[in-house]
Amino acid sequence: MRKLTYSQAISEATVQCMEADPSIVLAGQSVDDHKGVYGTTGDAFARFGSARVMDIPNGENAFAGIAVGAASMGLRPLVVHTRDDFMFLAMDGIFNLAAKWRYMYGNRGSAPVVMRGIIGRGWGQGATHSQSLQSLFGHFPGLYVATPASPADAKGLLISALRADTPVILLENRGLYGLEGEVPEEPVAVPFGKGRIARAGDDITIVAASLMVHEAERAAEVLAGHGVSAEVVDVRSIRPLDDAMICESVAKTGHLVVADTSWARYGFSAEVAAVVAENVPQALRAPVRRVTPPDCPAPVSWPLENAFNPGAETITRACLETLRAAQDSVPEIEDVMAGFIGPY
């Protein structure tokens, strides 16, 4: 199959969906500029022009409400936030309006807005430009929340989002945009709530979302060299979450490491651990481990940033510790963002 980068896959899904559905409008700050949101909106702008690919003023709060109002009247706004951190300003619209619209007006209509939020990993993006907010979005009923890890899923989940009658948050990690993978040319929807076994294994389960799926895969590779067979579960969407796949895998391996770019406390990794504790606690042959950023804001200085961002090496160590194996031979594994040329 033909290969695309993650950002090309997003771009292609956008163009195909906009072609099929004239009610879709892509909107965001400078979505029409030369960078085209890291190559994800430029093609749509070239194809559909400013009538459907719309630069908007700054004002995240109102725009969330504007999108809800338009969606409830039949438009299908696809809103881009170049950092998901900016979505703090849009949270009233997201949680009090979009997520609750259908329910609180008695199931009489919907407001299916789609919002892309980009997580600004690396290159000193710092405390307010690199947060991973999946755990927040996942908490609220009424939304779908997807965290595509592969180009194929970036395309397929965006397609599902643009066809859904429920509001959807798509979180994309900037560190994934250059990643290549096979992507079907046709618009194939990937459903929400179905995970993916990114790598099969027997000894330990690593559950991950978004960028951490790749770190988990890299860790699994290293672990294989240690004679450990790790299974990597890519949840793909965190709401709904594929509980069954997680529990089946842990039932098989008896060991669980959760890898996430959001903080541990009240986070994605907590939910995965809880799902296991609720459903298959007896399967656990060792304590669950959470591999997440430490409990502090993201620092800028690169040695700190490196230490802050959990990666393949930490996952590897956590797995070996969980399995009580010797760890002295874990190699240093380069950060995924190594070699990146700034400014971002």
Binding site: G59, I66, V68, G69, S72, N107, T166
Partner: protein, 320 residues
């Protein structure tokens, strides 16, 4: 719309709210907060009279009058207050989440200012469709202080969207007078003009004046001239939330409340019509009886209607 009809619509709203307030207080069976517009009927009636059925209206927490004025189903509203499945939001939303899509009352919500943006979004959809529809949104003097006001007006003005921003300035937000919250010597209308929006401040207790201003506003929007802003000065008689009078609690000066009761929009219109329509007072009295009966009937009906089924608790959270 004829002044007589405007008056009749106001009387209906007044009757509905007064009856509901009494029953609410005495029975404690409508388990949802209620924000009455008693004394503010002219704004709702004047604006909605200038709109068409296909135009849509949004409102905030104080929304009963707007819902009724736009033609919302009274029975469904009352049933909503009683949390019944036959409620306009199937008992899920309560008194602050009214909706009647057929009547063009799109939605109300209880987070200050939210609907300013939502109405702007609806107008955005209308403008894109090229539909000659108008969205109007009611909000208070208090809501105008929220950031969403600024962001929404900017967007609406920039894209010349067909939205009428209707600020009901009833001089208070909760117990806080407007001059404790906004700088002296300024006005909400003045701020709206800062976005290049055509804006007018009108006596909100003069239903005819409101109607005429809204008519002009709707025409302006429909002709593609962009948004319109109306600031309507008025006053709520009762407490912020609930059926009581708050001057009895010392919240607002009694003479202030009384001076506004003097300016009752219903009385005023009745008096204005008396010269040309000598039977008007009898008509009002008859309407009053008619509407109170209508509301009591709606209440009886609501109470006899089933609650939502607990098995349906989750339904409506997601598409099916």
């Amino acid at each position: 719309m004829e002044p007589r009809q405007l008056l009749r619509n106001m009387v209906r709203i007044r009757c509905a709210e007064e009856v509901i307030a009494d029953v609410y207080r005495d029975e404690q069976q409508m388990r949802t907060p209620v924000h009455f517009s008693i004394g503010q009927e002219a704004t709702a009636v004047g604006v909605c009279a200038a709109l068409r059925r296909e135009d849509v209206v949004y409102s905030g927490h104080r929304c009963h009058a707007h819902y009724l004025a736009k033609g919302g189903d009274l029975r469904a509203m009352v049933a909503e207050f009683y949390g019944r499945e036959s409620g306009c939001a199937s008992g899920r939303g309560g008194s602050v989440h009214l909706t009647d899509q057929e009547a063009g009352f799109a939605a109300s919500s209880a987070i200050l200012g939210e609907m300013i943006s939502v109405a702007t979004g609806a107008a955005w959809a209308f403008a894109r469709e090229g539909a000659p529809r108008v969205a109007a949104t009611f909000f208070g003097d208090g809501a105008s202080e929220e950031g969403v006001f600024h962001e929404s007006l900017n967007f609406a003005a920039l894209h010349r969207l067909p939205v009428i921003f209707v600020c009901e300035n009833n001089q208070y937000a909760l117990g806080s007078p407007v001059d404790a919250r906004q700088p002296p010597g300024t006005s909400i209308t003045g701020r709206a003009r800062g976005y290049g929006i055509r804006a007018e401040q009108v006596d909100g207790n003069d239903v005819q004046a409101v109607y005429e201003a809204a008519h002009k506003a709707a025409l302006h929007c429909r002709e593609g001239n962009g948004p319109y802003f109306l600031e309507l000065d008025t006053y709520r008689w009762r407490e912020h939330v609930g059926p009581h009078w708050d001057h009895e609690l010392g919240v607002r000066p009694r003479d202030e409340v009384e001076s506004w009761i003097e300016r009752c929009p219903i009385r005023r219109t009745t008096q204005a019509l008396r010269a040309t329509d000598p039977g008007i007072e009898d008509a009002v009295a008859a309407w009053d009886r008619e509407f109170r009966a209508e509301v009591r009937e709606a209440i009886a009906l609501a109470k006899a209607s089933p609650f939502p089924r607990v098995e349906d608790l989750l339904s409506g959270t997601y598409e099916n």
